[in-house]
Symmetry: none
Subunit: 216 residues, 4 copies
């Protein structure tokens, strides 16, 4: 096989082109979805010819798959950093803000991911039930531990995580709507969002006062 992907040691030029392709593909896929994107658009955005693009990747599907897999790692990073040894509320607030920053700085990745989810994750369901689930399970345990220790309001850890994902990714995935309603201003709303969410989760997760908890 002449495919670059099959080679053992990618040359520098290979890495460079691969990166250009993936970047272009991210742009196109995140905006138009898998079916809506065309190789022409990607090739154009990457600055190379279509056949040349297919020299580096097996096909449209392969590009998309590679993109999703590479993305997942970055995507889970904020959650990985949730420190079991940290102060619960602070840890959750920090996680929340890290996620919000990702939505601000990597909206295309967020949309790519959301697109895939909407379609029923046909190209990434394995990873969801594997790597992702494992990490979430692990961190849910941590949160549950905090709850049981009375350091956090008694909430369902899974739904807590879901809500953090939802509220933060919303600013990337529904950006048009957000801008349409707030006015087309710059990214100022991320600051307001951070304040609001901090407040919401701080208030919503603060453990009941010690006295109140022990008595019943």
């Amino acid at each position: 096989m002449a495919r670059a992907a099959a080679k053992k040691t990618p040359t520098r030029i290979q890495r460079q082109k691969t990166r250009a392709i993936l970047d272009a593909a991210l742009e196109v896929f995140s905006q138009h979805g898998f079916r809506g994107a065309t190789l022409d658009q990607i090739a154009d955005a990457a600055g190379l010819s279509k056949p040349n693009l297919l020299y580096y990747f097996e096909g449209k599907e392969a590009i998309h798959r590679t993109l999703l897999h590479r993305l997942l790692d970055t995507w889970l990073d904020p959650l990985r950093q949730l420190d079991p040894a940290g102060e619960p509320l602070r840890e959750i607030r920090a996680y929340l803000l890290r996620k919000l920053e990702m939505s601000r700085d990597y909206p295309r990745e967020s949309r790519l991911f959301a697109n895939e989810m909407l379609q029923g994750a046909p190209r990434i369901s394995d990873e969801i039930q594997g790597e992702l689930k494992a990490l979430v399970d692990e961190k849910a345990q941590v949160i549950r531990g905090w709850v049981e220790a009375g350091r956090l309001a008694p909430v369902d850890p899974y739904h807590l995580i879901f809500s953090i994902w939802a509220t933060t990714q919303h600013y990337a995935d529904f950006e048009v709507q957000v801008r349409g309603i707030l006015g087309a201003g710059a990214d100022g709303h991320f600051h307001d969002a951070a304040r609001f969410l901090t407040q919401l989760y701080t208030g919503g997760l603060k453990p009941p006062a010690a006295g109140a908890r022990r008595r019943p």
Copy 2:
């Protein structure tokens, strides 16, 4: 014009077929997105031949547009019901639950909408900046009023609304992920979600005690 849609009073069969088409289209569009959906799929799902489908609608775009416009109205209903005269926390909780129910009962509509947003709302941006914005502005004013009256924690009303949208729609839009993580059980998680969200927003929005507020 021979299009049935152009006629004045739709016959029974027209209404029936039109409904069948829109239902089929909702299924297909919500799963594959606009570009990913094909008329073949829609015609199949509706039990019609492709040309017959085009006898009722001008084209693919027209079906999608009709779907989106009809949806928007239903979509905004829960927010419309937010009663300025009601008790703030209760109103918001009720709104939240209505939205959550919609995500449970109409996940396809939610995904259709999310798909459109992700693509940058090319076919519905007018309505967003018009009807939708107007309603949100109005209700944001209501919430702001509550805040200023000290009946709600001092939060940004827009971001509050966004967060409610995000957290509730998440269960429809990211359903695969939710099920992948929680296990493929039935809709039981909606109950847990309702409890969690109620708790989160109740805690996060409760106004500071009167005494506490006045003193600083």
Copy 3:
């Protein structure tokens, strides 16, 4: 067969609708050509439904054929009137003007005919080699007789007829061009055309002076 065309005695309503259809078809066919015209357009222009239209005619082709055949008769009328007993130059001038009037008053018919010719007369070649040729042959003989009698310049009668057809029909068939060049004014140019053509043919066909002819 339920076709109206098959009936023996057409009712008044049948004649009326048939006429409406043919008139509509003339409009549409002459503008868009056979293939370019659609039954929808014709039905619309005739003010009836497509199936109803097909109740009166077997199909698209039948309408077109009927139109062409009915047209041919009218079309040849000016030539038929060429009177062998008349004064040659006057007869030809009169014929010329009759044709020019037809181009002015029936441009759609002219274009329908031209369209058919351009396509190679697939639907009317029989009539051309039959009825039309017979009439032309007959009148060509008349003209030849005038020439031989020295009452007309010695011209080829067939090409004379062709040139009269060409110059007069041009104002109908190439109307856009004529108007584009002369300016979009009303039909005033027909008057100028009549003068020019009269002059051209009078000068071009006048027999040489008697003395000049006999001497060589």
Copy 4:
């Protein structure tokens, strides 16, 4: 864009195929008109697959447009050569014969043009009112000058040009009719046509004898 047409310097193969396509398209369009022609026919005639044909041209319309525009230039050439410094009658006769030759040698081009005119010139009306009109205006001035100098019978120059167009193009545009009437012989009739037209215009345009003109 992957279209070959968009590239800067056409390769040899591009020029070759482009020419083949245009030639095939000329054949098909001139016979069936724009709507009547199909890409299948053109592709077949050009010996290409349909998608390959669309690799060279944006679409059906683009092929037709290209054809018309390239044609117009050739089409106007005979008129451009009308020499203001020449002897009037001789110039006009020469123009006439050049046009007649074009009808004999490029009948498809003539029919393509006629087809477009019949439809109302939807794809070339700009050029008609621009380039074509300008040239005609210019040459009409020349002819008018000749008339005023008494070197030509006092005729309307525009209608003179129209009549030359009409009479010469007739042999291409109404070829079936001409052949149907004269018999299906070879191009012999062009010779007769040339003689007839020469005679007609010579007689029709000869200026009145100097003496005759001055006296009244």
